[in-house]
Point group: C7
Chain length 91, copies 7
């Protein structure tokens, strides 16, 4: 996965993981009821802030809060751009 975007400062660009189409019991959920994924792959990172380089790297799978970041669409794909401080952990 490669995108031609350079996030600024402490921002990272994340490709959210596809939401599960089925519940644990096998029932197919219509599109609007699907929970937003909170897991994604980092596809681009900024240069960090002065004296604070980023920890997250391109390719990392990260966990983030349900309402983290701003949705942007690049070349027809949906991404989230968020500050690294919105990232909880690397899987």
């Amino acid at each position: 996965m490669s995108v031609n975007i350079k996030p600024l400062a402490d921002r990272v660009l994340v490709k959210p993981a596809a939401a599960e189409e089925k519940t644990a019991s096998g029932i197919i959920i219509p599109d609007t009821a699907k929970e937003k994924p909170q897991r994604g792959e980092v596809v681009a990172v900024g240069n960090g802030k002065k004296d604070e380089p980023l920890t997250v790297k391109v390719g990392d799978t990260v966990l983030y809060g349900k309402y983290a970041g701003t949705e942007i669409t690049v070349d027809g794909s949906d991404y989230l751009i968020m500050r690294e401080s919105d990232v909880f952990a690397i899987l």
Copy 2:
């Protein structure tokens, strides 16, 4: 207990202790009335912030506020991910 998660910066991953199934007087409480536990075991820690390493270590039993952290599910288990400043004390 071992999980493959690396919390970022000053965050720690906590496995909440199981809530008591019985009250002191021996009455069994149905699941929805159980108080959320405020005690847990640290299972992963971040690297701290610049110039501020973490005090809490993996394996510590910690006390934290009732509404501290964000619930995340990893491999079917529930954890809380919180900032170390949400941890009150080590038991």
Copy 3:
């Protein structure tokens, strides 16, 4: 008095003083009407923050605001855990 708890950073653990059972005029107050004590004994202290060691020591009797701290129960006893900045004065 000794408890096996290590408060983090600038937090202190306080054992609130027992509330007075009688008013000045000698009337016995039922339990629910008793004012919460604002005086207590320090039973454990954290290591302070970077470059800011704590002033309060174990054994000090302290005054604190009516709504300071979080109540926690350890071995059946009730304590308050609060930041040192919530402590007004040492008696």
Copy 4:
């Protein structure tokens, strides 16, 4: 006037001046209508914050805002404990 209290950090203990019992025109005001005094005598001071010693000294008469500080009772007398930044001026 002497009290056995040590305020913490940048806090000062003030003995509010008695409110005037009469208005300028000589009418005696019942107790509940008296304005709270905003003038008092400093009876104890903290050690200040790191690199910021206090300016106010024990014995100073100070002016402070109407809602400054917290009321505490020590040995039957009422005092106000406030931060030095709540003190406007020394008379």
Copy 5:
């Protein structure tokens, strides 16, 4: 004009200029409709904060916001005590 008050830190004591009794067209305004003056003379100044001495001096005529400061009465005269940052300019 001289008052025996020492403002603390970055505070200044200002004697508000008397409000104009007449509008430009010469109509006399009753007392309650007069706009509060926003111009006054500095009568006492604090020592400034650490590393930040004050710019305003006793005797300066200053402009300040309509709601700046706290009114205090000293020896029967009304003053405003405000932080220097509430002063806009020196005339």
Copy 6:
């Protein structure tokens, strides 16, 4: 244009440009409907804050937000006094 006012710290005094009396299509707008100008000339500047001299100079034409600053009247003329951070750009 010259005024005898010295703004404090990071404040600048701006003479707002006269609002356009006509719309692009030539209709004359009555006084109350005129948009407030967001362009003005700097007529006085402060000395800046510690270690942060001002960028704006007397004589600069500046753009600022619609609600920036406080209106003050000096010698019958209306000015705006604002912080330099309320100035967007120099024309």
Copy 7:
């Protein structure tokens, strides 16, 4: 594209990209329903803040939040002036 404006400090001047006149399915949208563009070209930049030069350069195509910046009109063209921290990424 060249404009004679010098943004102050950490501000950048952006020429928003023209909004798409047609939806993906080819339906022409009337003017008021068009989404505001979130993509634009940088036409002028400030000098940055003390010790923090800007990353964005004139000519960069940038992404920014839907509500970022303030609209200003210069020589009949509409621009947005925003802080660099409102810019998410460079395309």
